[in-house]
Each structure stands twice: as C-alpha cells, then as structure tokens.
C-alpha cells in the first residue's frame, strides 16, 4: 500500500480538483480568478524554491522561463486548437503544457551552465540578465507578436489543470527533498565544498535544479497564458522575477509549506489592498521591508537553534 502512497495522494488531489470544478460556476468569478492566480503563483514559487531554497542557487530569472513556457504553449495551441471538440482541446492543451515545460527546461539548462561557475550576487545578476535577454528576444520576434503581444490564445486553463499541477509540483518537491537522493541538494546548498568531498556532484545538482525549476516555471507560464489569453513581453520582466523571489524569501527558503502559504498571502494581499489603490504598492513594499527586518527567515518558518542561525549566517 505504502508503495503507492504518493500516487494515491495525487489522484485524490486531482479528483478533489474535478469535484470542485463541478461547482466552478458557483464560485464568484473574481474569487475564481484569484484562486487560479494563487495556484499559478504556488507553482512558480515552489519551482523557484527548488532552485533557490533547496539547491541554494540564487536565481533572478524565473520570469524568463515563464515567458518561454507561455509563448511556446501559445504557439502550440494556436496551431492545434480545435474549438469544436473538448477531447481534442484537452489533448492539445496537454501537449502545449508539456512542450512549454520542456522548452523552458532547455533554457533552464542554458542558464544552469553559467551557474556552475558563478555564486551569489554574480549568479543573481547573470540570471536576471538571462531573463531580460529572453524578454528582449521575444520582443523582437515578429511571429510571436513582438511588443504588440500574442493575442487570441484560447482560454483553456481551469481549476483542474492548475491545481493538478500544483499537487504534482508540491508532491514532487517534497518527495525529492525527503529522499536520500534529495539530500544531495541540501548538502550543496549548506556547504558546496563539503558536499563535493562526499562525492556529490554540485554540477549535477545545480543543473537538475535549474532544469526542473525551469520546467515548472514553463508550465506555470503556459497555464497563465491560457488563462489571461493575451501575453506580451512586458509581463515577464525582471519585476515578475522579483515577485516570485519575494514569495520564496517570505515563505522561507527551503520551506515547502511556508512558500505555499506566502504565495497565497502575496496573491491575496494586493487584492485586499485594492481599496487603497495608489497606496497599495507603497504599503506592499513597506511590509516587505518590515518582514525582512523582523522575520528574515520567512514568515512561516520555525525558529532554529541559536547556534544554527549563527552557522547559517556565515554560510553566504
């Protein structure tokens, strides 16, 4: 029985998703939309958590992977879309999500390679640079609509697609991290050199983290594109990457549950602040500063022993 525990959990999650989607029409569309954004943000933040939180590679280019996934999938569905048949739509969309993820993963590999030589701030600025390069290239590609954006993407994303992906990402990341295999990620994050001396290839770990993280960012981008139905390069600037990084940091790097909570919180917070319209980004930025000063390890992370904090402090 235990052998299939993960599988069962996944199926349960997807069945629940379907059940809820039956009542989709009962949910206020605004809440529904916020829920979808929550789901997409959980996928983005959890996949970045794999790179930043578990493999310890500080990346500021996640929006770039998202863009690759979004555009790839949009091209696929615009070529394959059969509005008449829902079966074919499902097939086309599955393919689009998968291809979006795969192409993003290939870009993840390209970005992962420099990460092998770079650390900390240098890596951060390089990944930011890669994200921006991707955006600029898209902006110059006419067949993707350039700056005018890609219009007419079919609205295929729904509750089931998003939350099945959420379930898969969370399960996958937690399975990985709680396995003996996954300990190599944490070892590289904690002390790269010590990890190397027990035979762990930091190269391999970093590349796997970037490729997997990018894959899911790509899928999230594809889900996003087929929800908003219109994408343009400006949506995937480094500011989007910052947003995702902030979710990971506030949730607590390397905390699966904390990052989920912060993705939820940071999606809802701007909505709650709608009433203060022009002030909301100012409030948001102040909150960010205050949280960093008072709860630097993240809002949802248990406090560690004093000694450990000291050790972690000296790490980076």
């Amino acid at each position: 029985m235990r052998l299939h525990k993960s599988g069962l959990m996944l199926i349960a999650a997807i069945v629940t998703g379907f059940a809820i989607s039956r009542f989709e029409h009962l949910i206020n569309p605004y809440y529904y939309q916020v829920l979808i954004y929550i789901g997409i943000n959980i996928i983005l933040a959890s996949s970045l958590n794999l790179i930043n939180g578990f493999a310890g590679q500080f990346s500021l280019g996640h929006a770039g992977f998202m863009a690759v996934g979004a555009y790839t999938s949009a091209v696929v569905t615009s070529q394959l879309h059969f509005a008449s048949s829902s079966m074919l739509n499902t097939a086309a969309f599955s393919l689009a999500l998968l291809l979006g993820g795969i192409v993003a993963a290939i870009f993840g590999l390209l970005v992962g390679i420099p990460s092998l030589r770079l650390k900390g701030d240098y890596l951060a600025i390089t990944t930011l640079g890669f994200g921006e390069i991707i955006r600029v290239i898209v902006q110059n590609l006419d067949f993707l609509g350039g700056a005018r954006g890609f219009t007419g993407i079919p609205k295929l994303t729904n509750f089931v697609w998003v939350f099945s992906t959420v379930a898969i990402v969370i399960l996958l990341v937690s399975n990985l991290i709680n396995s003996t295999y996954g300990k190599s990620f944490l070892a590289v994050r904690d002390d790269e050199l010590a990890a190397e001396t027990i035979g762990i290839s930091s190269t391999r770990v970093k590349v796997i983290a970037f490729v997997t993280g990018a894959f899911f960012a790509g899928v999230a981008g594809a889900l996003y594109a087929h929800f908003v139905t219109y994408i343009n390069p400006a949506q995937f600037s480094f500011l989007k990457s910052f947003e995702i990084v902030v979710m990971v940091i506030i949730g607590g790097m390397g905390s699966i549950f904390g990052v989920i909570l912060s993705a939820i919180l940071l999606t809802i917070l701007p909505e709650m602040l709608r009433s203060v319209a022009q002030y909301r980004m100012v409030v948001y930025s102040l909150l960010l500063i205050v949280i960093m000063i008072t709860r630097p390890r993240g809002l949802f992370v248990r406090t560690r022993t004093a000694k450990q904090s000291v050790a972690l402090k000296t790490l980076r």
């Binding site: 235990r2 052998l3 299939h4 525990k5 993960s6 599988g7 399960l171 996958l172 399975n175 990985l176 396995s179 003996t180 295999y181 996954g182 300990k183 190599s184 944490l186 070892a187 994050r189 904690d190 002390d191 050199l193 010590a194 990890a195 190397e196 001396t197 027990i198 035979g199 762990i200 290839s201 930091s202 190269t203 796997i208 390397g254 560690r304 022993t305 000694k307 450990q308 050790a311 972690l312 790490l315």
Partner: protein
C-alpha cells in the same frame, strides 16, 4: 603497490611556495601520520589530494591512476574521503540526514524514482536506513540521530564528520586534525576509535596533526613537514630522535 602516491608535488600560490617537491607513499591498510608545526602545509596537501587545489607540478596517484585534475566529487567517487580541520557539517541537517547526504550518491534509483517514489525507491531507502542505523550505533550516536548536527557538543560533531566520511565507503580516509580542541582523555578515546575504524572498515588512513604525541600511539609511520618541505620520515621512535624535527618543533607549543 602503494594505495596513494604523491610524486614530487609542488604547490605554489602566486609567489609563495606552500609545498615543495613532496613525495609520500601510503600502502593499503596503512595509518600514516602527517605532522608538522602550524603553517607547515599539511592542510594544503589534503586539498591537493582531494582536488580542491591542483598541484602546480607533480603527480598524485591513487590506486595506480593519476587523480590530478579530477574534481573533488570525482576523487571522492574513486574512494577518498576527508574531514576538515574546522569541522564542516551541513548546518541545516540532523545527524541522520548528514549521513543520508553521504549516501545520496550511492542510492540505487534516480531522480524519476525519487520524485515518484516507485521502482526500486522503497527497497533502496530501507537498505540505506538500515545501513545508517548500524553506523550510528557503531559510533554511539543513535541517541542524537534527530538532533541538528551542529548543535551537538564538539566531540560528537567530530564523530559525525568522521561518520559522514566513512559513509561514502572510502578506501582512503584523510583526517585533518581530528583531535583539535579536545582534552587529553578525549584524545585518547578518539585515537582508539580511529584505530578501530581502520581495522573494522578496512580503510587506509592519512592523519594530520601538529601534536606529535597524539599520533605517536597509533601511527606506525610518520612524515614530518616543515614549511612545505618533508624533513623526516620513519617510525615514531626514529622521528622522536631526529635532530631536524626537534629543531623544527623547538619553541613550538606542543599543547
């Protein structure tokens, strides 16, 4: 044939020569002590062997093959494990997880199995779990298995680090001042443990210490280093009488 051979190795940093024309041989099953005053270049030798530094010139042979230019993890794969002078444990991990990390390389499944938890995953995890439990028992660490490793007392941290190195199933173990910071009775106990480990795990050991008396008891052969140059080699008794060694250590506090 020797398990590890350093053949006229030289290590230069800019204009500074840290190791000069050093040759050392270590036979399988040996416990070789590498001693010398602070700053003699002992840790540099370890860094050279484990691939952290690449020797400026000379050869490092392990099991008859050159390991110069290999990455630290590749050298670890060949069967060399080490500890660090200033203990480097993984700050976020428990004792159990620390040992698990050392096993992460040898699991009998891949990424896909890890994330999907199928195939050989559960069998392999159970095997690993049993092996770790045995090791923890051997080192008398089973009571602290779920403690964060770096929150343990110093002596136990040393043990965890030694255990982490052994968990990679090395042929050669490099111990960098394992007794540093211990009181005399702890030192004696540790030396006993090292000797037992050597025979129980059939591992060769290269041990660094600047305190001669620590290693006298267990090493059959010693190499003495001063300013990157080998000044003497032989049995503990021979070393004790060597005039160059006495000169090098004169005025050195020997704890």
């Amino acid at each position: 044939m020797d398990l590890l051979t350093l053949r006229s190795c030289t290590m230069r940093f800019g204009g500074l020569t840290a190791i000069a024309d050093l040759s050392i041989g270590l036979a399988a099953g040996d416990l070789l002590g590498l001693i010398g005053p602070n700053g003699a270049g002992k840790t540099t030798i370890f860094n050279m062997i484990t691939g952290i530094y690449r020797p400026s010139s000379g050869q490092v042979l392990f099991d008859g093959h050159s390991i110069v230019g290999l990455k630290p993890n590749q050298i670890a794969d060949r069967g060399i494990a080490r500890t660090f002078q200033n203990i480097r444990l993984f700050p976020s991990m428990t004792v159990y997880e620390t040992v698990q990390a050392a096993y992460s390389k040898g699991v009998k499944y891949g990424l896909i199995h890890a994330v999907s938890r199928c195939g050989p995953f559960h069998t392999s995890e159970e095997e690993t779990d049993r092996a770790i439990a045995e090791l923890l028992e051997y080192f008398e660490l089973e009571t602290v298995r779920n403690e964060i490793a770096i929150s343990l007392p110093y002596g136990q941290q040393r043990k965890v680090e030694l255990l982490r190195a052994l968990a990679t199933k090395p042929k050669l173990l490099l111990l960098d001042e394992p007794a540093a910071g211990m009181n005399p009775s702890e030192k004696v106990a540790l030396m006993g443990l090292i000797e037992r480990v050597r025979s129980d795990f059939r591992v060769s050991i290269l041990l660094i210490d600047h305190d001669m008396r620590v290693v006298m008891g267990i090493c059959k052969r010693l190499v003495v280093l001063d300013y990157g140059v080998k000044i003497a080699e032989g049995s503990p008794r021979e070393i004790q009488c060597d005039s160059k060694v006495i000169e090098a250590y004169l005025g050195e506090p020997t704890e």
